[in-house]
Amino acid sequence: MAAETPTSTLAHLVDRFARLAASMFGDVTPRAMVLLGTLLVLLLIAPWLINDYLLTVLIVVLYFAFTGQAWNIMMGFAGQLSLGHAIYAGLGGYIAAALFARFGVAPWLGFIAVIPVAAACGATIGFLAFRFRVAGVYFAILTIAFAEFARIGFDHLDFVNASAGLFLPVAQYSHNDLWHLRGNPTMFYYVILTAAALVFVLCRALLKSRVGYCWLAIREDEQAARAVGIDSFRYKMAAVMISAVITSFAGVFYAFFYNNLFPEQVFNISRSIEMILGPIIGGIGTLFGPILGAFVLTGLAEALNATLAALGFDLPGAKQVFYGVCLLLVVVALPDGVWPWLARLIGVEEGRR
């Protein structure tokens, strides 16, 4: 065998990467690639184009694009309706924040501690649900109950300051500290942008993999899937746990961005519902749906707020009413979500699924 030179190793790596990219994006139409590329470029240079307020709005958009995709793994791919996803974000936020506030542990290390907890929580819910045949709407109610349980529990947990809330030290930093996630909005923006992009790539990879096929089969017809040898329990558990861990990272981000956590807010069912609005409005089971949904929803909500403020109204709850109306309209008129309809319109249909 010929000796491995640096160039041949590099060529080999490039070849592997190219093959991977081709397999993941090979069936994406050129038009879609252009769209995707443009979006990415715009997002990358956004901090130079817009002011801090709009940047914060974009951060919220990307946050929901991130959590939306994580939830989409469960619902859109594996077909399990969870309405208690806030529990994972809450756990992630609280654990990482408590470790930082009490012991100065950096959030990235804190996240490593969060992973097994989130996975275990997801595994518990999944195990209870799937072993005991709790499905459909009952499963949704079970997830709500767990989140509520966590909310009340943390409300009484003195280690994290119970209902008075956990606050992160906000010292005056002269520079961005990525390791401790202390800094200006631009730093947070790139963190969440990277995270959202990574999840997007991950979802794409998952969908094209063996796991993705099995998930789709289970979603379509679980009994038929089992008849061709798919251990549906295992795959559903995997979906729940992966979704849980990813969502928990969102919680870590949330904690360090907003610097305070209240059980009443963090585990509230409104958080769970906010997480699902993006994917539902955008389109469950699609790759772009959650992202589009996040943009549309948050964008319009901010526009609404701005309009109301300009007209002199201060209506707390107006945004939620708006969310409710959007959800209602989508469920009634565009049950598959906005993205499939839009995609057909501009000719970038998302593959044959």
Partner: protein, 241 residues
């Protein structure tokens, strides 16, 4: 005798109704075995027990010498038993090719290999040209062939076909018969089929079991079965087949 599939005294009750009553039979390897009988005779229930969808109340089911009566459906498939459903159940939103890939993933290392196997099977079952169509848009005969392809993708040693000819025109069912015969002859695939279409049963089966109200009333070669008075009385009627 070394039967591939063996049922001994298998029974199933549904809240007082006896669906299957102490049925016993053996299926030898590479055999083409048919189960016939009037509607409600318990044939699909029998299949569901073999395939692990429901547990038998009594009796034992063994496959390749191992008991399988208490295994779940996915474990049974992994042991080497594939099945189709009486009412076709392809994965509706997936393409034809993706449907078969799902089955092929059981024995393939990765999606690429699975896709190759899937395409091979689609060619054999005459569905290759439609591989990119969404399963829900297929005609019934095509969906039936798709379900067979998907089951075959799991590389079964035994295939359970539940009324796979139902709803097919004679030309289509002849085509299906030819495919099944080829599979049996070339790959040594053992096939157990529930059938009402006697034309197909006569053309395919080497051994027939007749079920009526959950009881096995006759078993034997097809020519003998069609002349059996009990079978004629309960199911076939006096017209020559």
């Amino acid at each position: 005798m070394n039967a591939l599939l063996s049922l001994q005294g298998v029974s199933k009750r549904f809240r007082g109704l006896v669906a299957v009553d102490a049925v016993s039979f053996d299926v030898a390897a590479k055999e083409l075995f048919a189960i016939i009988g009037p509607n409600g005779a318990g044939k699909t229930t029998l299949f569901n027990m073999i395939a692990g969808a429901i547990p038998p109340d009594e009796g034992s089911i063994s496959f390749a010498g191992e008991p399988i009566g208490s295994l779940p459906p996915d474990a049974i498939c992994r042991r080497g038993i594939g099945r189709t459903f009486q009412i076709v159940r392809p994965f509706p939103a997936l393409t034809v090719e993706d449907n078969v890939i799902v089955g092929a993933l059981l024995h393939s290392r990765d999606v690429g290999n699975a896709r190759a196997s899937a395409r091979e099977l689609l060619r054999r079952l005459d569905l290759f040209d439609q591989r990119n169509r969404i399963a829900a848009t297929l005609t019934l005969p095509d969906r039936k062939r798709l379900e067979v392809a998907r089951a075959l993708a799991t590389e079964p040693k035994l295939l359970l076909l539940d009324e796979v000819m139902a709803g097919l025109r004679p030309t289509e069912s002849d085509r299906m018969v030819a495919i099944l015969r080829t599979l049996n002859r070339d790959s040594g695939l053992t096939i157990v089929l529930i059938e009402h279409v006697m034309r197909a049963v006569m053309a395919l089966a080497s051994n027939v079991l007749v079920l009526d109200h959950g009881i096995a009333i006759a078993q034997g070669k097809p020519e003998a079965i069609v002349r059996d008075p009990a079978v004629v009385k309960s199911y076939l009627g006096a017209e020559p087949v």
